[in-house]
Symmetry: C2
Subunit: 383 residues, 2 copies
């Protein structure tokens, strides 16, 4: 299996205002988009891949001037890969409010001439889906072969099936949930507090002051990172290993680093704080918290999913304690009660929530088999 | 059942230097101590109760000038309560380095004439046990009827059974663990990072600057608090309830509080940051991280526990994901392989780690029955 190779993002500008769920309106905006493979003549082979918290439109391949910057789902998307770009036309879209090129908090607010900062409107999963629908319009895609995503990306796929039931044949929802639990929201709120109380956050206007709330972002990322890994996986990878065993063989009796897990997490936190935008972090965690399609149906998810027309593929991972298999099963139950066609796989994998991004042959082969079916279905209809 | 009523703490000063595990020495120090009930003539009915992260010597009863300040284990300790002060003489000791009166980071370092701050030596569970042993000496107690604790307090009880096997007849270890996991350490380290990077921490010397790293402490406490509650319990108590439903019935689309769980956790964090010391938080989380009696025995807990002579009572709670029942079972297994007498209860309780402090009749009745046995044993020997 080879990578899709060199890819290039493109900017799509939208002049028509976007009405947001909050009541606010985005006057105009642009989105970063990346595509892989070729759209067929009847425009039926497009698959939209939706990203999670810290990912982007850069789903697969690498950039000519930055060959180490490989797309976040390069093991999933490419020629001969589970989502095969020799067959499908795959689209990655950086969501509004993100910090990888699409209009977001660090861009200039046309109303003030200064960066939006915390004044960038809080967007929701549904707002993202509406913005993605315009990308589909622009590309002339009336119906996706599939909309697919993991985690927060899976929420977008699910929202697509509700908001635009005619516009996707298949909905692929990996390691996701129909809504956050109180514990999920709690972790998000602690992360937000760490950012909001960092003096360098400056009420969200840190851009103008030439500072970045790195400490807050670091703590936020460390918290997040713990929830992405499984307890068992952490135990196996790090356990209670000391970082500098050779040096002392003992504890340091200070507040620096004793254990490898500390070193690993702080390093991850530092790295993240150097490339991720604090306002984006706040905004995306709120989008996660707010997602709850059953909310307008008295909490009845089956009612919320009654309008769907797609076929569904769901997968969850046994050691994922962020969005446990039970949450995926809730979606499956609600779909089955609506007599939707559902394929569901509960993968026995040790890597927690992160498993959806990793190489697990059972998981990847199941997705491959599902897309093979999608492809044969398309071929049959085209014939 | 009535409370023990009005109680008074006492200060015990120790002039003999205390050698610490880190290699440092505490030249002199004092400990806050509280006792309940009456020491019998042969001094055989004493029970030492060890405290966890944010508790103190104030185990039961209340203060004459502060009747709302009820001891942290008042439902466990008192006349007619599971640990019955009509029978037992119960001792609470505030650990060294804590912030409730015993010598700690906010006290004056005799070497510099200024508050210790971050220069207060990092103490370990074993150091605390050595300091507690001197309290026993001072009170003329050669052997405790029992040493008891929950969580970090349970670690102290376990350390007692290893370090002073002749000095306790029973060892009562509730909701504890023989060592922290990588995930436990990770949560502690994020909490420490939040404090250490708060500009008001000032390298630990915030006392002199008249500031307190409240934001860091708040975030640290919020993280800790999430790990003390079970996912299910949070779901039941808070779920996705909005705080101001009546006001708007909708999301606020900002970075303030939407959900009740956010309101609850921020409130708990704020409250904690007003009374707890930041250096103590760092120090106590390090004591937690370092505890690992098997470490000097190639990780073999059974070897570490081979020297013990006590009888053991252990209890764990099914929904405790901080120190899960599995961790208690490790201790039980290691004890059984040494042919120690062990009573173990796995309590089906919804409240997570916090369950060890709450009223659960099955749990409290088991502890009561165990102490009844301890009492009868003492009576038989005394006869």
């Amino acid at each position: 299996m080879s990578s899709i190779g060199i890819v290039s993002p493109q900017t799509m500008a939208f002049a028509e205002p976007l009405q947001l769920q909050s009541g606010a309106t985005l006057r105009d905006y642009h989105l970063m988009v990346e595509t892989y493979g070729t759209l067929n003549a009847d425009r039926s082979n497009a698959v939209l891949v939706c990203h999670a918290l810290n990912a982007s439109h850069h789903v697969a391949g690498y950039y000519a001037d930055d060959p180490k910057n490989v797309g976040w789902w390069d093991n999933m998307v490419g020629p001969g890969k589970p989502l095969d770009t020799d067959k499908f036309f795959v689209i990655g879209v950086n969501n509004l409010g993100s910090c990888f090129g699409s209009t977001g908090p660090m861009h200039v607010n046309p109303a003030t001439g200064k960066p939006y900062g915390a004044a960038f409107p809080v967007v929701t999963v549904e707002d993202w889906v509406n913005a993605q629908a315009r990308v589909a319009d622009r590309l002339g895609i009336a119906q996706f072969a599939a909309v697919m995503g993991g985690s927060l990306g899976g929420m977008q796929a699910l929202a697509w099936s509700i908001m635009y039931p005619e516009r996707l044949r298949h909905c692929v929802v990996i390691a996701s949930t129909p809504k956050l639990s109180a514990q999920n929201i709690a972790f998000n709120d602690v992360a937000r507090q760490a950012i909001l109380t960092d003096p360098d956050y400056r009420g969200g206007d840190f851009y103008e002051h030439g500072v970045v709330p790195k400490n807050g972002l670091k703590v936020a990322r460390m918290i997040g990172h713990i929830t992405y890994l499984s307890d068992d996986d952490m135990a196996e990878k790090f356990g209670r290993k000391l970082r500098d065993m050779a040096e002392s063989g003992s504890y340091k009796f200070g507040y620096g680093i004793d254990f490898e897990i500390e070193s690993y997490l702080r390093y991850q936190g530092d790295k993240f704080s150097e490339y991720f935008d604090a306002n984006t972090y706040l905004l995306i965690t709120k989008a996660l918290d707010y997602f709850d399609p059953a909310r307008l149906h008295d909490g009845d998810l089956a009612k919320a999913l009654a309008v769907t027309k797609a076929k569904f593929f769901l997968a969850s991972f046994t050691t994922d304690w962020r969005f446990s298999p039970e949450r995926s099963r809730e979606i499956v139950q609600a779909l089955l009660s609506n007599r939707r066609e559902v394929t569901y796989a509960e993968i026995d994998a040790p890597h927690g929530h992160d498993a959806f991004l990793l190489d697990d042959s059972r998981y990847l082969n199941l997705v491959r088999a599902y897309y093979e079916q999608v492809w044969q279905e398309l071929a049959k209809e085209g014939a």
